[in-house]
């Protein structure tokens, strides 16, 4: 990836949102995708936390990449990640306590996100500061977009509301906000994403 600076920043962001979407395409970091998406508010804040951690980790790793010895790079990446997760954890606890009460555990578990470690290892440790920033932004936004989609789907059809405001006026599919419904929602949306991707993105001109 030495010619990464020739790839436009927009491409990097698009890559994170579409081609390598953490949840729908790579199927990584699924735990919070189901756990926190019962309402749009929780899903959104979880996504924001992930964007923040991903960007800051990418920046830190990229800035330090010349000083990190090859042999001990993974423990160092873990240390950087858990440091930034601690920061987000304390910030959320202080500023959005009502959201934190529900998603706190999952915020702490951002540490165990394979996707964040993977981007630090595959991209940030080999690239300069600005591309790393946009790569982190793209991957994080891809996660945020997926979470927002899932939580809109679940909140709208499960509770009939968006951000607590009643839209449908009934609870058409109560099961979607129950734990079991989370699996159904992600399964259905994933299939939809696959279908759209196969139809429009992968084979242009076919069908």
């Amino acid at each position: 990836m030495s010619d990464a600076n020739q790839i436009s920043y927009w491409e990097l962001i698009k890559n994170g949102i579409l081609k390598e979407n953490t949840i729908f395409k790579l199927a990584l970091s699924l735990c919070p995708a189901i756990a926190v998406t019962t309402s749009l508010k929780n899903g959104f804040f979880m996504g924001v936390a992930v964007v923040f951690v991903q960007v800051m980790v990418n920046l830190t790793v990229s800035a330090m990449r010349k000083f990190i010895h090859q042999r001990i790079r993974l423990p160092i990446f873990m240390l950087v990640i858990s440091g930034w997760v601690t920061v987000v954890n304390l910030l959320m606890d202080a500023y959005v306590p009502d959201v934190y009460k529900e998603v706190g555990l999952y915020i702490q578990l951002i540490v165990a996100f394979a996707s964040i470690l993977a981007r630090a290892e595959m991209f940030a440790s080999k690239n300069r500061l600005t591309p790393s920033l946009f790569d982190g932004l793209g991957m994080g936004l891809g996660f945020l977009v997926a979470l927002v989609f899932i939580s809109i789907f679940r909140e709208l059809f499960g509770k009939g509301t968006i951000l607590g405001v009643s839209i449908i006026g009934a609870k058409p599919l109560l099961i979607l906000v129950l734990p079991a419904g989370g699996f159904f929602a992600v399964g259905i949306l994933m299939a939809l994403f696959n279908w759209l991707y196969a139809r429009y993105a992968a084979k242009p001109g076919a069908h």
């Binding site: 970091s29 394979a114 734990p179 699996f183």
Partner: protein, 197 residues
């Protein structure tokens, strides 16, 4: 003593069935979906997982109680616990390779995967959050491990059958696995209210 034993038993049942990590907390999904394609790997993973879980919960509890609380660095628990888990996984990897190469050949690959599992980190964090005693922490970890094993084995036995089924193309692979998991989760809601701690 009797009442305490019952409390421990309740903790194990609650952690494995009522609050099953996979189906009610949605943790450890990456491994749950990744390794449940074949029964053999599912069982290997379950054994390794339960063992590592119990040991890491015990060590984390000791570290938290006797190192972090006296030093007043509880806020660093994420960093410390991930260090404990990573060190433990690396250590048992090395020990197993030397002591029993046969077992290492069978289960070694799962060990490396475990360090990316969020349950293994969530259990020590929840032990701290719920202020469990040492014995309670171990019971909780054991219950969580058993619950995860149960989920893995159910899932693997269904997915081995589903391989042969004719599923609509966009649903093949993971989306179908999610739908199945949803149905199992629905069955597991039947356990809710069985035990309230």
């Amino acid at each position: 003593m009797g009442a305490e034993l019952i409390k421990l038993f309740e903790l194990i049942v609650s952690a494995s069935l009522v609050n099953n990590f996979v189906f009610t907390w949605f943790l450890g999904l990456c491994i749950f979906f990744g390794v449940s394609k074949k029964m053999e790997t599912a069982i290997g993973m379950s054994i390794t997982f339960t063992a590592v879980m119990v040991i890491s919960a015990a060590i984390s509890w000791l570290v938290f109680r006797f190192v972090m609380v006296p030093l007043g660095i509880e806020f660093l628990m994420i960093i410390v616990f991930i260090g404990v888990v990573a060190g433990l996984v690396q250590g048992s990897d090395t020990i197993m390779r030397k002591v029993s190469p046969g077992l290492y050949y069978k289960l070694g690959i799962y060990l490396a995967l475990i360090s990316t599992n969020c349950i293994i980190l969530a259990v020590p964090l929840m032990n701290v959050g719920n202020k469990y005693s040492f014995i309670e922490s171990i019971a909780f970890a054991l219950g969580s491990g058993l619950g995860f094993s149960l989920a893995m084995i159910i899932m693997a036995s269904i997915r081995e059958k589903i391989e042969l089924a004719d599923i609509p193309v966009p649903f093949r692979g993971l989306p179908m696995a999610f739908i199945i998991a949803g149905m199992i989760a629905l069955a597991f809601t039947g356990f809710s209210g069985l035990i309230t701690l």
